[in-house]
């Protein structure tokens, strides 16, 4: 845990109130309200199937792509309701980037995977600019050294952990304001994990980051705020220090001490 995190933390970036999510009849998220700070890392923890991914997907409206999924409640990004009619989900997703739980590189070259976002958003006018973006993003994702000689090879040919880092590079290439990371280190070795955590720390200076993780240590290491989910309910949301040293709910206590989950 880092000292003085509270001091660094900016204003509220995303503010969710009474969010409910239904998959058909199933009630997956129950009345969740949370304030996600700008220039800070927020961790979502909780047992498998408790709705962490589902809630994360509300923030960039990825749940729109699931037919049976229905979201109610309000989610404000910098005070603007993202579910309002006037908001274009396409633009929203350019501002709120996402690294998915399962690595999903496009069946394109490594270079094109990273260049995909910058290209569609017209972020680079010429090839050298694009090359620079690709290189810096791959470096940040701790992948550059492994792939710099094979940028034209398919991204699907990388190992699982490399694919995960490729997806991180791809997500940060669009310079989002909010970065949602769904278990970004689940397939990484300790070295790559440390590198990604460094990256998260770096990015925190400019973005709001939400990370889902099953590793208590990781949540404790990288985040300033932690939310504990259980069975679709957000049980507790507080400073990370507080959650890990002195949780106010029994269920949180049980989970972080490994008694269930």
């Amino acid at each position: 845990m880092k000292d003085g995190d509270g001091a660094l933390m900016g204003d509220t970036k995303v503010s969710a109130t009474n969010v409910n999510v239904y998959y058909g009849e199933a009630h997956a998220i129950k009345d969740v309200s949370v304030e996600i700070g700008d220039k800070a890392v927020t961790a979502f923890i909780g047992p498998s199937g408790c709705g962490k991914s589902t809630f994360l997907r509300c923030i960039n409206r990825m749940n729109d792509t699931i037919d049976i999924c229905r979201v109610t409640g309000s989610i404000l990004l910098e005070g603007e309701d993202i579910n309002a009619k006037s908001v274009d989900p396409v633009q929203l997703r350019a501002r709120v980037g996402m690294v998915f739980q399962k690595p999903n590189p496009f069946p394109k070259s490594i270079y094109d995977n990273v260049a995909y976002g910058p290209k569609i958003h017209g972020m680079a006018t010429n090839k050298p600019d694009l090359d620079a973006i690709v290189e810096s993003c791959l470096r940040k994702a701790a992948l550059w050294d492994e792939v710099k000689d094979r940028l034209d090879k398919p991204g699907t040919g990388l190992s699982g952990g490399q694919q995960q880092r490729l997806c991180i590079a791809r997500a940060i290439a669009t310079s989002p304001e909010v970065l949602l990371m769904d278990e970004p280190c689940s397939a990484l070795d300790p070295i790559a994990t440390a590198r990604v955590e460094e990256l998260i720390d770096e990015l925190r200076d400019s973005f709001a980051i939400v990370i889902v993780t099953h590793s208590m240590q990781q949540a404790a290491r990288v985040s300033q705020k932690t939310a504990f989910f259980h069975l679709g309910v957000m049980v507790e949301y507080d400073d990370t220090d507080k959650i890990f040293t002195n949780p106010s709910d029994k269920r949180t206590q049980d989970y972080i001490t490994g008694r269930f989950g």
Binding site: N60, M62, Q91, G97, F106, K108, Y116, T156
Partner: protein, 487 residues
């Protein structure tokens, strides 16, 4: 009683074997043994032991019987007759007629016929059997007797040996039931064998078809040089003279037919690929579940329409429209039958192939790829163009190639819509024709299977086969490569 009754008996025995095996295995289980295999496998194992030997006996005898009988019958023929194959074949047919007739007589009558007291023909005519052909000679009656005798021996032997094989096999199988016997593995082996046999039959049939085409084609190429066939630009087989064997009697240039086939197929693909692909994209990416559930079956109905119906459609509707609206005003042609008509209608015919296959392929692109693209702020069409289609492209190419081989092999539409004139021309409003149409026209009529006019059909068929096979192999190769990408 025929072979089918025998097979029923064998099946009944197999069922009995199954039950007996099951009972023994169950008893064994009850006695406290922990058998290697469950009782069902032991039972199936006994059943296999009943079935396999007895079916093998049936197959062997059924195959061997006509050969042995035929040889024995011909052994009765005078030596000089045996030299002449055509004549012996005729007489052999006659003998089997006589043999059939003899079975209708009683023993006394038969004896009289044998010693020559009574002429056979009127006697059989009385019984309602009209013998045709040559005069009946004593050796034919002898041969017919041999035939009948052998046949009844064989029938008896067939039953006896089959049932013997079934019973002995079943007993042996039943005796093998022991706790440590690996019945499961053996049954699995038999199942595998049966499956292999089924696919071997499918493959052998294909090989047989190819060889029959190949041998006839070789006969054709012994009359017409392959150079003239493959590179000739004139198709004019002429009519065969009555005794034209070995006489060329015409020109057999493949090129005009190949050109017509290719031209029509290309027009068909130009029409079908965009329409099919776009409707597939709509169905897979844009349509709601409900719309897709309605649209997809409707498009697939198109695939079930017999091609002759498309032919009518071309002849009655599309042909006149193209002629009156395009060809005549532009002065490019005056016939309702044209490459364009056939191509357009054929294109309509293959739309469902392309759209339905492509729809499946696009749907097989993992949702996570789309999510990845949407998650980066891509729009739907950007996602389709840059992620989904490239991922699905190899499969779509495969679908298009499969559709192309359908188009190339299509006959009915071309017969009705493209005409029968052979021609190499770029003008799509003229009549042209294809390989398949010429195959039909060379094979219909009563020319003999020895003249090049008819044999050319096999050479054409072989060419077509090789072309479509090549396309299919290429398509399968591409589809397979595509599958590997996500596994």
């Amino acid at each position: 009683m025929g072979v089918s009754t025998l097979i029923l008996v064998v099946l009944a025995l197999a069922a009995a074997g199954y039950i007996a095996g099951r009972m023994k295995a169950k008893a064994m289980e009850r006695a406290g043994a922990r058998p290697h295999s469950r009782s069902g496998f032991h039972a199936a194992h006994v059943m296999n032991w009943v079935l396999l030997p007895s079916l093998a006996v049936i197959v062997l005898i059924v195959i061997a019987r006509p050969i042995i009988v035929d040889n024995a019958v011909r052994a009765e023929f005078p030596a000089e007759l045996r030299q002449d194959e055509t004549q012996s074949n005729l007489i052999a047919g006659m003998v089997s007629q006589i043999a059939g007739g003899l079975t209708l007589l009683d023993e006394g009558e038969r004896e009289q016929v044998r010693v020559g007291l009574v002429p056979l023909r009127p006697l059989l005519a009385e019984k309602g059997v009209a013998l045709g052909g040559a005069d009946i000679e004593p050796f034919m009656v002898r041969a017919a007797d041999t035939l009948n005798g052998l046949n009844s021996t064989f029938s008896g032997a067939l039953w006896l040996l089959t049932i013997l094989a079934a019973v002995i096999g079943g007993a042996l199988g039943w005796l093998q039931i022991k706790p440590e016997m690996r019945a499961r593995n053996r049954v699995e082996t038999v199942i595998k064998g049966v499956l292999i046999a089924a696919s071997a039959i499918a493959i052998l049939t294909t090989v047989g078809i190819v060889f029959s085409m190949l041998s006839e084609s070789l006969r054709f190429f012994s009359m017409v040089s392959p150079v003239n066939f493959f590179f000739g630009s004139t198709w004019d087989p002429r009519f065969a003279a009555a005794d034209s064997t070995g006489d060329e009697g015409g020109q057999y240039g493949l090129l005009p037919l190949l050109w017509g086939t290719a031209y029509i197929s290309i027009i068909a693909l130009i029409i079908a690929v965009p329409i099919g692909l776009f409707s597939a994209i709509y169905m897979a990416e844009y349509a709601s579940k409900r719309v897709r559930g309605i649209v997809k079956p409707i498009i697939e109905v198109l695939a079930g329409i017999p091609t002759i119906v498309y032919g009518f459609f071309a002849l009655v509707t599309v042909g006149p429209i193209i002629r009156d609206a395009v060809a005549v005003p532009l002065g490019l042609g005056s016939s309702g039958s044209s490459v364009m008509t056939a191509g357009v209608v054929m294109g309509i015919m293959i739309i469902p192939f392309i759209s339905s296959l492509s729809d499946d392929i696009i749907n097989a692109v993992p949702q996570s790829l789309r999510d990845g693209s949407y998650g980066l702020g891509a729009t739907k069409s950007e996602t389709v163009r840059q992620v989904v289609l490239p991922a699905a492209l190899p499969g779509i190419v495969g679908a298009v190639l499969l559709a192309a081989s359908r188009a190339i092999g299509e006959t009915m539409i071309v017969v009705l819509a493209a005409g029968v004139a052979t021609r190499i021309s770029l003008n799509p409003f003229q009549e042209m024709t294809t390989i398949t149409v010429k195959i039909v026209s060379q094979l219909t009529g009563d020319t003999e299977f020895t003249s090049p006019q008819v044999l050319v059909a096999f050479a054409l068929g072989l060419t077509l086969f090789v072309v479509t096979l090549g396309l299919n192999i290429y398509a399968l190769h591409i589809v397979r490569k595509y599958r590997e990408q996500y596994d």
